[in-house]
Symmetry: C2
């Protein structure tokens, strides 16, 4: 109380203290801003590189039957949101069946704990920071967002260098299109919203969906380059629309190889479902949206089967990151936005009964970066050699011939910064991007978590395994140095 | 890229934008600061009130044998950190045995997700905001902390009005001392550090421990009002020291009623353990600290049994809040600092084999506020009538005569603000104090979680139970209004 009275009489001191604090803040922001400008100047773009590779794919030609690819990516669906993963309030019989007949990866990490980078990683096979997508793309039409971007970039934690994925990246739709596929994106893009940065500019023959997340405004639905449904689009009918589009796309392309990237806008907030599915789950509208997505997947798979296409179609199901404000991590620690297991460990299912040894749950380490090389190997397409591909082909694991994860490691990135490493035995974290937040939270780490006995990442076992911790620290340092010297991973 | 070049040429605009932002910030801080000063002025202290009540307790006298009370409070121990609660990397046979022979409350909430308020709630039986302990006490000797306090108070989220628990509160040690008990605090106080605000000033006859958390400096160990171990105290031997002190205190007071409040400094970061326990668990130093605490509890209980005191001693075991950077929530969502279940739901065990119907796990709603009225009822002491006691006596539940939680509700407080309500059926949250952080995070709520089917709080079931959500919203509004009009809960 004495202190309290003193404070009031010392009001002048406090006022000047605050002004001083603001000036300090200004200085810090200006300083970091300068650094980030410098950083952005050295961003090492190689225009034309992608085209050279795509030309070689076109030249190669298809000497064999190309498998169809259906990649289903749910938005913010958690590790524990499928009934096959233990959910009890939500029932997902169709996706469960894919898992039961196919291969379920129990130890799969999304490329990033947030949307845009995760999608960049899946489509490029490379750590998203290489593609200049360290974080989620905000709408840049709004001046306030530009200001936020600027400040966040200045803080070097929540930042991106450009307004779309780098055009010199090679994306899966571009490769498959060059190899003779017809390609479609149904649903969410979120790798660039301006003209020239849209799905049709990155190898998609057909696009029906939104340029970004369903909580961003204005939310319009595009058909290729034109608006098909004006903003604000009714989101309750969206899963139905996307399902119809998927069936129509398959119908149009049943006689030729196709790549269908079905990027559901759900159960991302605000989750929504049609009349028929409202109240169908015991988990509110979130569960209803998941159950409608499950229905949608079931319809598509049934259609493939009815056409006999299931024999030659790989269906992949996954999520872009852990659950946000709703959704279940299945008891894992952390959520969307966070590098802890709940933020990045999500379901991953591969289904192709005729080709893959199904009915298996694998605990070998895998990540969304593996989708690109896996699909390329399955299609017999040589991957690019002018750049590092961080993922590895899971085909041997899918076919049951061998574990592909020996010595595998996966880097956890908080925007541009490598903050952790996951191996088969451990998760090593120096820091984590904060849950639902914009900054890197320096925890009381570094932490070494036992990946086998402690998936929820509760206990630092460094005292029990000091050599493992030291080795991982060294590897992480090496990653940091490698990304600093050659962020883009160019091989000259 | 076009935008990027434009930004650089528009550097002047950005610079002025930043200055403007700082000025805005200054204005906001100043405005809130004014509010908080005004708020603090109306803090409604009633000096002398506590003394009147304590006088009545003294006058009442003990017409019966008073039961001994041993209250063990672990620091930052999570819901999942005991083997009886599912931990596999940590073994706690002694505490497990208390649970197996006693009553384990599975649905128990600590009064607050952080330290000082939680302890205020347990010792007063009232929501900690009533005792002017909305948040954790930082060290006020440091000028930087004073500044932080000032700013945080200005934001009205992470703030306290005074530098100790209010002296007009009635604390459990004061009541028991007045009733004829000898009282001791062994371990952590954290309800005021200055002279006049220390344990011996609040009814403890004996104090051996620290004034605040084991991560705050300088960390000295006091014996009553004198420093017994100079800072920095060796924390590896602390559990051993506290155990010896506990046994000595019991020895000194075996023939008279005693209240032993054993507030372990562990497993709060930096967790520590003696040579003997280092490496004893599979959960690193955190697990070792928990296992040494388990040993300590076992020693004390064995001593009570050897003396035949177990027949007339109630042993309570709990934690002040969920786990911080390490520790297991047992799959619950959120952690220390957070109003989600992982932040406040912790183990609570009551053991008194001769008196309580043991061997039971109860799922009735209970909280740390219930400790004060439960102990008073057990000791036959009339509670104060000049103030609201928010907790309720759990004695009927402990004795197995009836469920005391019918219509029970528990308010979740983010510092001063009631942000949620827990009932037997639901948890209703409008917002939550952010995990490991200082501000109230407005989530995409309000959320209604099904307490029975969804303890991890993943799914908003408002669409399924709109009337329940509306009723709880109304109750929460009523709480907010009640606290605004009579924060202290005085009954005139």
């Amino acid at each position: 109380m004495g202190w309290f009275r003193k404070q009031r009489s010392a009001g002048t001191v406090l006022r000047w203290g605050r002004v001083l604090a603001c000036l300090c803040l200004l200085g810090i922001v200006a300083g970091y801003a300068y650094d980030s400008f410098r950083d952005a100047r050295g961003r090492d773009l190689r225009p034309g590189r992608a085209e050279q590779y795509l030309e070689s794919v076109r030249a190669q030609g298809a000497g064999h039957t190309l498998p169809n690819i259906v990649l289903v990516v749910a938005d913010d669906l958690g590790y524990g949101d499928l009934s096959v993963q233990g959910a009890t309030s939500i029932k997902t019989p169709n996706i469960d069946q894919l898992a039961q007949q196919g291969v379920l990866f129990d130890n799969y990490y999304s490329p990033s704990p947030i949307c845009s980078p995760s999608r960049a990683g899946m489509l490029s096979g490379r750590y998203p920071v290489r593609a200049h997508v360290p974080t989620v793309f905000l709408r840049t039409e709004k001046l306030s967002n530009r200001f936020v971007n600027q400040v966040m970039r200045a803080m070097n934690t929540y930042s991106y260098d450009m307004e779309s994925i780098a055009h010199d990246e090679v994306l899966l739709p571009e490769v498959l299109k060059a190899a003779g596929y017809t390609t479609a994106l149904l649903g969410k893009w979120h790798l660039g919203e301006r003209e020239g940065d849209r799905p049709n500019d990155f190898g998609f023959d057909y696009f029906f969906g939104a340029l970004y997340s369903n909580d961003m405004q204005p939310y319009a639905i595009y058909r290729n380059r034109e608006i098909a449904i004006q903003a604000p689009a009714d989101q309750s009918t969206l899963t139905g629309e996307l399902t119809r589009e998927a069936l129509a796309f398959i119908d149009r392309n049943a006689a030729q190889p196709f790549f269908l990237y079905y990027a559901s806008p759900f159960p991302h907030h605000p989750a929504n479902a049609s009349e028929r599915f409202r109240g169908s789950s015991n988990a509110g509208i979130y569960g209803d949206a998941v159950q409608e997505l499950d229905w949608s997947v079931g319809r598509i798979v049934a259609d493939l089967q009815a056409r006999g296409l299931d024999k030659n179609t790989l269906v992949l199901f996954t999520s872009d990151n852990g659950p946000w404000f709703q959704g279940s991590t299945g008891g894992l620690r952390g959520r969307k936005g966070n590098n802890l297991s709940g933020g990045q460990r999500v379901p991953f299912i591969a289904w192709m009964p005729e080709r893959l040894r199904g009915g298996r749950t694998l605990d070998e380490l895998a990540s969304g970066l593996d989708i690109f090389p896996t699909v390329l190997e399955l299609a017999g397409i040589a991957p690019p050699t002018d750049r590092v591909i961080d993922g590895r082909s899971l085909l041997p694991a899918l076919e049951g011939s061998r574990d592909t994860s020996v010595d595998a490691e996966f880097v956890l990135l908080a925007s541009k910064k490598p903050v952790g490493l996951v191996t088969a035995d451990y998760a090593y974290l120096r820091a984590t991007r904060s849950e639902n937040s914009t900054y890197v939270m320096l925890s009381q780490g570094p932490f070494l978590f036992d990946a086998r006995t402690d998936p929820a990442q509760s206990y630092d076992v460094t005292p029990l395994h000091p050599q493992a911790a030291a080795a991982l620290a060294k590897r992480l340092d090496a990653w940091e140095a490698a990304l600093r010297s050659n962020l883009r991973g160019w091989i000259d």
